[in-house]
């Protein structure tokens, strides 16, 4: 059976075209996934909010807790970063001083300073969505980068600390 050509036959292509475009976009997203749940921080490009202590950059501000499993995973990388001269300020999220002291004694202390955020208010001020989370602050006190989740490896944290 022959299909008669009509002037409007171009409309017939539209459902197919829309469909192909949609499929293309979904394919793109699958191939280039966002690290699950990662969201750009609105703090980037602005001064670090007040966390109870002035942070003289360049430094990494790292939210952690002794009860947090992924924090333990990235801990060794923080220690190596410290040994390479990278300044890390720790913020203990919803944790007790005694637990933190024991944690840092057992695993080593990569932090030049530890600030306590007992009620999580400082975390909210920085838009934290969980622990661990890290920020890179430059010498002027401006936030330059944010990482949600742990550092995956030593090169990762070293690259993170290099100012853009």
């Amino acid at each position: 059976m022959t299909a008669p050509k009509t002037r409007l036959s171009f409309w017939r292509i539209i459902p197919l075209a829309v469909f192909i475009v949609l499929a293309g976009m979904l394919l793109y997203r699958i191939e280039n996934p966002r690290v699950t749940g990662s969201v750009d921080s609105p703090l980037i490009g602005r001064p670090l909010p007040d966390i109870g202590m002035a942070v003289k950059g360049p430094a990494i501000v790292n939210f952690f807790a002794s009860w947090c499993a992924p924090c333990k995973v990235e801990h060794p990388y923080l220690l190596i970063a410290k040994s390479r001269g990278i300044k890390i300020v720790g913020v203990a999220y919803k944790d007790k001083q005694t637990n933190i002291a024991a944690y840092l004694q057992r695993g080593g202390n990569p932090y030049v300073n530890v600030i306590y955020d007992d009620d999580g208010k400082k975390a909210i001020d920085l838009g934290i969505t969980g622990v661990p989370e890290s920020f890179l602050v430059d010498e002027k006190g401006i936030v330059r980068r944010r990482l949600q989740g742990p550092f995956a490896s030593v090169p990762d944290i070293l690259q993170f600390a290099v100012l853009p």
Partner: protein, 624 residues
């Protein structure tokens, strides 16, 4: 052994599907018979495979990885069975089973007079089966064994150990996948070039069955969310919920469009397009749930490789169908003109509004994804958006639904229809005045639209009604009733949360409750803190409720089991929180909610499904 047989059955099924596809689409003279036999063989093989998996679950064969990950000896039998489809691989097998069920129905349906149509449709259905069976065998095989046999399994998420949720996937899949048969019949019709009233009659039972089971599946899911999640909510505009709503919306449009096709022979191209789109929505939903692109509370375990495979399937099947449409649709043109005030136009208006809602829900669900791909923004689109955009379109639709059935085909006569309109308006106005006088104005627009629809449907009732008319009345009235439930349960609800100790008495709405303390109870695979809450009136206690907090040691999860007392006008929904040590020993947090008219929501859903059943019955009768 049984598991290996089940595995081989699935492999043979792949072959059967290939045969079905090949002979369905070629011109071999023996093809008619071969395709039918292949479809039936396919059904038998996949059925056997599925039963084999079920056997492994029921006998707790932990050497099968799928059973190990999702089952446990302590699990009650019902949930051992439901555990078969409570995970990605098993539910995929269920999906495939449904594909084959509908293939079998197409092969044996007596009303399909055109043998070529049947054959081509089976060819398409076979094509679908090949892709999905391959997907299961190569990326999501439920029959894989492990060398080490563990003592016991990891059990099923307790939240899924629930009768409503056990039934939800099979029902939902009957609907979701049922539209595959409509898709195949539409594709076949594009190929044979025959889309007419006869085709509409052939397709109607398939649409009716798929639509009614999809409606039931969604209603079950909504009811489950209501009693299990602890807040009494019934719809969250979660991406996976939306994924099931989209085919329902286009399926409803399809149902109504078929009416025009079978009565007037018009809207051929549009009906075919809807048939294709509806199943593509099912495929899209399957992709969204299993690929991880939109993570959701619902989503199964995420695996990008699987996601790419399903996307490929979606692209191939959708691309084929839309391509067929682009190629063959021009041949189906009709010269039908529609008068502005007629049954046809009201059905077209209904379609337009349903498609608008579909477009909105689809856009809202995918927007965060799309806008992020272009690096423009990172947004969330949630309930506030959907409520703000869908409700203003849905309410006028309810109004039109009330008027439509009064309009005759072709052209409306002047008198009868206007008198009916006045009657409906009168009833609605009366109801609105009552609401205003009693100061219950929250959601008044929704209530007015619902009452309008219910009055209009009720006025359709006659002494002697055909199945078709009864289905119409029940379906529309049911929707109005459901909307009343939605408004009451969300906008009129009363909430109370407080810390209580044994003996405390408190009031909510018209109820007086007394907290009588908490005791420990044991279930088959959980321990629970069970509270006792007495309802009292002047004569003393007349009822007790027992909300629980459960702890499942196998999965280390605690859940809250609310106690619900459902009455026609409202429910009493009580949930137990945690112990509040600060307020003293034996003090607990208790949350009580009253949802006015929620019974109307469930009754409305039931009527809608019943309407679907009547339509199915009618389309069987007609087909002879």
């Amino acid at each position: 052994m049984i598991v290996e047989l089940a595995h081989y059955a699935l492999v043979l099924a792949l072959i059967a599907a290939c045969v079905q596809m090949f002979f369905g689409l070629n011109n071999d003279p023996a093809g008619d018979v071969v395709t039918n036999r292949a479809a039936l063989a396919l059904f038998g093989l996949v059925g056997a495979s599925f039963l084999g998996l079920m056997y492994a679950h029921v006998t707790s064969d932990f050497s099968v990885i799928n059973v190990f990950l999702n089952s446990h000896t302590d699990k009650p039998l019902l949930y051992k069975i439901a555990g078969v489809w409570g995970n990605h691989e098993g539910s995929m097998l269920l999906w495939i089973l449904m594909l084959c069920v509908f293939g079998g129905i197409i092969a044996t349906a007596p009303q399909i007079g055109d043998h070529l149509l049947r054959r081509r449709a089976l060819g398409m259905q076979g094509f679908l089966s090949v892709g999905f069976i391959a997907f299961a065998l190569f990326t999501s095989n439920p029959f894989l064994r492990s060398a080490i046999v563990p003592d016991n399994g990891q059990s099923l998420n307790p939240v899924l150990q629930d009768p409503g949720l056990a039934l939800h996937p099979p029902t939902l899949y009957l609907g979701y996948v049922g539209f595959s048969s409509v898709f195949s019949l539409a594709a076949a019709a594009l190929v044979t070039g025959n889309v007419d009233a006869a085709w509409a009659r052939v397709v109607k039972p398939f649409v009716a069955l798929a639509w009614l089971t999809l409606s039931a599946g969604i209603a079950l899911g909504s009811h489950w969310a209501y009693y299990e999640l602890g807040w009494g909510g019934f719809w969250y505009w979660d991406p996976v919920e939306n994924a099931s709503l989209l085919p329902w919306l286009t399926g409803t449009a399809l149902l109504h469009s078929l009416l025009v096709l079978e009565t007037r022979g018009a809207l051929k191209r549009w009906t075919i397009l809807l048939a294709v789109i509806t199943f593509c929505m099912s495929l899209l939903g399957t992709f969204l749930v299993r690929s991880g692109v939109l993570t959701s509370v619902h989503a199964f375990a995420v695996d990008p490789a699987r996601g790419v495979f399903i996307l490929a399937l979606l692209t191939i099947y959708g691309g084929t169908a839309f391509g067929l449409y682009a190629w063959r649709a021009p041949a189906l043109k009709t010269l039908r003109l529609f008068t502005p005030v007629s049954r046809e136009s009201s059905l077209i208006a209904n379609n337009l509004l349903l498609i608008t809602i579909t477009a909105t829900v689809l856009t809202g669900t995918l927007y965060p994804l799309i806008i992020d791909i272009f690096g423009l923004a990172q947004l969330s689109v949630g309930a506030p958006y959907f409520n703000a955009t869908v409700i203003p379109v849905a309410l006028p639709m309810l109004v039109f639904m009330g008027v439509g059935p009064f309009l005759p085909w072709k052209r409306a006569g002047r008198w009868t229809f206007k008198i009916q309109l006045l009657r409906i308006a009168g009833i609605t106005l009366l109801a609105v005045m009552v609401l205003v006088f009693t100061r219950h104005t929250a959601g008044i627009a929704g209530l007015a639209a619902a009452i309008w629809l219910m009055a209009a449907s009720a006025l359709q009732i006659r002494a002697k009604m055909s199945l078709k008319q009864t289905a119409l009345v029940l379906g529309h009235f049911g929707l109005g009733l459901a909307v009343i439930g939605m408004v009451g349960a969300s906008l009129w609800k009363i909430e109370d949360i407080r810390v209580v100790k044994p003996g405390d008495i408190f009031e909510i709405g018209r109820y007086t409750l007394r907290f009588d303390g908490v005791r420990q109870v044991e279930g088959p695979n959980y321990t629970a803190a069970e509270s006792s809450i007495a309802l009292i009136n002047s004569a003393g206690p007349y009822d007790t409720l027992h909300p629980q907090r459960r702890w499942y040691p196998d999965s280390e999860v605690d859940t809250t089991e609310a106690a619900i007392r459902l009455r026609p006008l409202n429910d009493l929904y009580v949930a137990l929180g945690t112990q509040d040590q600060k307020s003293g020993p034996q003090s607990w947090v208790v949350r009580t909610t009253i949802h006015p008219f929620i019974a109307a929501l469930w009754a409305g859903f039931a009527l809608i499904v019943l309407a679907g059943i009547l339509m199915l019955a009618r389309s069987f009768r007609e087909a002879r």
